[in-house]
Amino acid sequence: MTIETKTSKKNLLSETGISRRGFVKGAAAVTGAAIGSGAITGFPTIWAQNIKNVTLRQFGTGVSNINAVADKVKEDLGFTLQMTALDSDAVAQRAVTQPNSFDIADIEYWICKKVFPAGTMQPMDTTKLKNYDAISKLFITGKLTPDSEIAQGTAPHTVGFVEGADSVEFASAPTQWMTLIPTIYNADTLGIRPDLIDRPITSWADLLDPAFKGKASILNIPSIGIMDAAMVCEAMGEVTYGDKGNMTQEEIDKTIAVMIDAKKAGQFRAFWKSFDESVNLMASGEVVIQSMWSPAVAAVRSKGIACTYQPLKEGYRAWGGGIGLAKHLSGLELEAAYEYIDWYLSGWVGAYLNRQGYYSAAPATAKKFMSEDEWGFWMEGKAAQGDILSPEGKVMEKAGAVRDGGSYEERMGSVACWNSVMDENKHMVRKWNEFIAA
């Protein structure tokens, strides 16, 4: 079945390929042919010379805007990648309002749902990507394994494809046209200070436990904060949801009511909006339990302060990002962008991201760039044999340590909900503002 679809895709390419090449002019046509013929290494001279002059401007959230990646691109592919890091809101804003200010957008899937329909990006032709098949099924069908359940929220596969090259309509099943190539994703949960908490934390409901009065925090990015709040309310049994990723007005109102009560009772010490804030709150002991991101936990630990990324029985809130192409890209630059994206999936970056505690979208290729011990620790939930180093070479974990939450399958397999943008977004934001102002 899979083979059949693949063959038909190949046919489709040879039909559309001509018109596409007609569009690419001059030297770019040669390079296009080079890519098409699969000559990834040993480029024709023209290609190799021209591509050095290409500069691709990528912007995105801090998580994957890593200078080491730009350096490696220069080394492996020869062209220049300029990175700009912004917060999620600014990313969405810029992608819509300044379409010519970027070549490659590194955005999250829930942002993609907002941004892609604005028509400032173009979908990618998956047949031009050698490593397409290496992409985790999570992003293609929504199922990590054939029998896993599809989580609530904006699951990446639901906004991962559009109907055609010029379409902004999301496709219900995988097509040849992908909106974003997944790059980086993770399962988020609560971070805790085990040295300051003397009982086991097992549920999202513990965030609002009066025992942590004045020592809890939640993130103040409405579209993500509301999900954490929903996980908490559901765990407390206060609210039941049809779909936490797309709540009704009534569900939103109830959720916010619970949060406002907690805020008025003095449950929260602060709300955080940026990565650094969450690290500082935790490291300074202002907060002992809060919504947190994986590298923030690592950052607290690297200061020698105990911090656990606590797996909870209700499951994780997951998020994922990917890179997509700006609408205005064409010719040589477009080819360079494809080249870059294929390279992104080819393993080096994947290994780099895995070592940071994120997950690579193409685990199989990343494995080739990781030692057996690293792979065992990060992906298989095994105890580390030796010291586990960060990509920069800093010791992150000592021998014997086991990753919080266990293996890739355990963590990504128990995702309860993906970050999302709701139909009732406007209402949700207004209610969230009430919560902040309360």
């Binding site: 809101d89 329909p117 604005a118 010490r269 500082n280 207004r430 503002n433 102002a437």
Partner: protein, 285 residues
């Protein structure tokens, strides 16, 4: 004929200023006003003429709470900056006799302002925190047993940071006004038998009014529109009008943000008009 030429030349002379005002003030403001009537969804703004942005804004209890909160910050900051600013300016103007020392001390006041606003604000966080310098000191001295939680991420912290940041805006214009006061007026008051306090009340304060008014306008407009101090010092737990606008912009809700901005502008203009009615600052400029 001569009249015409002079008229023409004055038009010519005001053109650059008028152009700058039109391009950088009038046109952007008009755009904001126009956009405030537009509609929006998650990722687009839709040209339209709707009153929903305003009706929601003015009808929502959140808005009133936020305005009340912002006005509270503005009022508290104003009171403290005025008291401190007036005292500092008075000291500089009347107690420091030599001009050199006045300049030296005045420069000293401005030195902290050579560092970034944000850094001066953020430095309060480790100082006031639960395990911060102040709490550790208080506990070690045996003054309190439990760390004082209200010090950080509270209204107290916001007002403290605002006062710290903006007192100079009060000092400078008041000092300027005080330096213009004819010293013989004070002598005359003393000769007429006025006590120190009476001189202050009847001579110095009335003559410093323009400086006080200018300082107040600076402080109030800055605090009314501020969002970063409120966000950082309240730990994101309090809202201000500026923060609301910044959130709306962040969520691509430009029309809602524009409506909020228009309402804020009107509010601040009303406050400033009120202040100008009380004090004629032109007299002193």
């Amino acid at each position: 004929m001569a009249f015409d030429t002079s008229k023409r030349s004055s038009y010519f002379l005001i053109t650059p200023m008028a152009a700058i005002f039109a391009i950088f003030l009038v046109i952007p403001l008009l755009t904001i006003v126009i956009v405030s009537f537009w509609d929006y969804d998650e990722y687009r703004i839709l040209p339209d003429f709707i009153l929903e942005n305003y009706s929601y804004l003015l009808g929502s209890s959140v808005t009133w709470k936020i305005y009340l909160n912002t006005l509270k910050y503005a009022a508290l900051t104003w009171v403290f900056t005025l008291l401190i600013g007036f005292t500092v300016a008075y000291f500089l103007a009347f107690h420091v006799r030599s001009l050199t020392w006045q300049i030296v001390l005045f420069m000293l006041c401005t030195i902290p302002f050579w560092t970034s606003n944000i850094i001066r604000m953020i430095s309060w966080i480790p100082f006031l925190g639960r395990n911060g310098l102040l709490n550790s000191a208080l506990i070690n001295l045996g003054i309190v047993d439990q760390p004082l939680e209200f010090l950080l991420f509270s209204d107290f912290a916001v007002v403290l940071a605002d006062v710290h940041l903006y007192t100079l805006f009060m000092v400078v214009p008041i000092f300027n006004s005080m330096m213009r006061i004819d010293r013989s007026l004070i002598e005359a008051a003393r000769d007429a038998g006025a006590s120190g306090f009476e001189t202050l009340k009847s001579v110095i304060v009335p003559l410093s009014k323009p400086g006080i008014a200018i300082g107040s306008i600076f402080v109030i407009t800055v605090v009314m529109g501020d969002f970063i101090t409120v966000r950082l010092m309240s730990g994101g737990q309090s809202a201000s009008v500026g923060l609301q606008i910044s959130n709306e912009i962040g969520l691509l809700q430009y029309p809602a943000a524009a409506a909020s901005a228009v309402v804020l502008l009107v509010t601040v203009l009303l406050i400033v008009t009120g202040l100008l009615r009380l004090v004629d600052i032109r007299k002193e400029l």
